[in-house]
Amino acid sequence: MSLFDHLSTEICLTFAAIAGLLLLANVILILRKRADPDRDDTELVLRVRTWWIIVGCFAFMVAVSRTTAVAFLGFVSFLAFKEFLSLIPTRRADHRVLFWAYLAIPFQYCWVAIAWFGMFVIFIPVYMFLGLPTRMVLIGETKGFLRAIGTVQWGLMTTVFSLSHAAMLMMIQPGDSARVPAVWADEASKASGGAALLVLLVLLTQFNDVAQFCWGKTIGKRKVIPKVSPGKTVGGLIGGIASTVALAACVGPWLTFLDLPRSLLAGLIIGVAGFAGDLSISALKRDLGVKDAGHTLPGHGGVLDRVDSLTYTAPLFFHFIYYCYG
């Protein structure tokens, strides 16, 4: 397929393996339904179907070009930020401020697309952080000021700044003077080294979600933080992290230029951070009294429900890679 030509064989095989796993999930669901026709799997069937669409869109956008992949992740940020703003109460007076906050999204992803690292890493934490309250002050409404600016900035940091790190992974080119030497499978895979990192991050993060969910269902009784997320058990947490580290060890050195120790560490970072990200969005939803953040993804809830872990794993994984190979 010419569409996938500029991607390494390993990336293409990874997408194929994910499709295989989803197919397996479909088959299991069909067999389960046949064994017990009364069983209600509607939610799971919907979830797997939505997974197909997510994986399909993601693979397609990564395959077309680096720019389309950046634009795709920018659109995901837009949906997640819109979901966040729709969930929280906002002040009528801040209409224009919120418009400026939205404008941060194309700018942030533009810095990614042109690989301007210096601007990328300070645009939201410095310029938006100072600019938005200034715009807010100009309107002159002080009642609820701290809450209004605090929530908007938190939303931007989570849904735009953090997520844009996933896109920025594609721009990483290991230098000769890097702390850790990059291990390349062959010359051909050098062109898509960044894309491989992105695929690894998304794969490990989503796998970690599923693994923590499955281990939580099967083992462990002691709840980690029952007030925030009653489904999370200590057994599930440890089992999930262990599974993610194991997958990272298998896939990391083969798919990307990471060596085995770095792959293990990456798995550990993603396992722990994914858990924390999941919990932090859970706490937000609990605070606002909603079960799901939105309705965009049938069977999953909103986009924010799907990328909750990614908001934590993306920046942490990125800076780990940047420290070792940047």
Binding site: L79, K82, S86, R92, F99
Partner: protein, 215 residues
């Protein structure tokens, strides 16, 4: 020619804005009338209300769907009048009837006779964003003349945040659209208005709307 322009405008401008920039969360879209004559009554927060409802009817039913809108506002100059009547396809309504000679509901009746689907905002004006005003009783007069026509109540939330009255800049927020079962003329103005009002209250109560606790 204007029919083609109308089709193009809704397909390439209205639908992408409503479905991608705004984003809808629709409950029970199948309760919308399949064909006219029918009336949809909705709460009114924003000019986008009309666009959302027309998007929900889809391109197939577009030619039959017409919003009823205030003549004094939408016909205030020639360009606006052309755009409102030809592209959006509004049926103008005189909000303040000066002479008693003309029937203010004539346009609405004509459209219903032509098997059209009408969109009505009985609050009469967009008013303060996301605050529902009492429905005006004009719909009861229509219902009395057309007792067989279904009135489908629709509650929308979110558009008053996206584009409230007096704002020219659209800020994206997801929009909730809850559609209730159709209501028919009950035989009396009071009970009809009460039925519609109860239906709207029920739809509004379906979801808790985020507000900060009073401090």
């Amino acid at each position: 020619m204007t029919d083609l322009l109308r089709f193009v405008y809704f397909l390439f401008i209205v639908r992408p804005v409503i479905l991608i920039v705004i984003g809808l969360n629709v409950r029970r879209a199948n309760q919308l009338p399949e064909k006219g004559p029918a009336v949809v009554v909705a709460n009114h927060n924003s000019h986008l209300d009309t666009m959302v409802l027309m998007t929900l009817f889809g391109m197939r039913r577009l030619k039959d769907v017409h919003p009823v809108a205030a003549a004094d506002h939408f016909l205030r100059n020639r360009l606006m009048a052309w755009f409102s009547t030809k592209i959006i396809g509004i049926i103008p309504l005189e909000r303040e009837v000066k002479g008693v000679r003309r029937d203010p509901l004539a346009g609405i009746c004509q459209a219903l006779d032509d098997d059209k689907i009408l969109i009505l905002f009985p609050e009469g004006s967009r008013g303060a964003p996301e605050i529902r005003d009492e429905f005006k009783t004009g719909i009861a007069h229509v219902a009395k003349r057309y007792p067989e026509v279904p009135f489908t109540p629709v509650f929308m939330h979110g558009l008053g945040r996206s584009l409230p009255k007096g704002e020219g800049i659209l800020v994206p927020f997801f929009c909730d659209v809850f559609i209730g079962p159709p209501v028919h003329w009950t035989g009396k103005k009071d009970t009809f208005m009460q039925t519609i009002c109860d239906a709207m209250n029920e739809l509004e109560a379906e979801k808790e709307i985020p507000r900060w606790e009073p401090s």
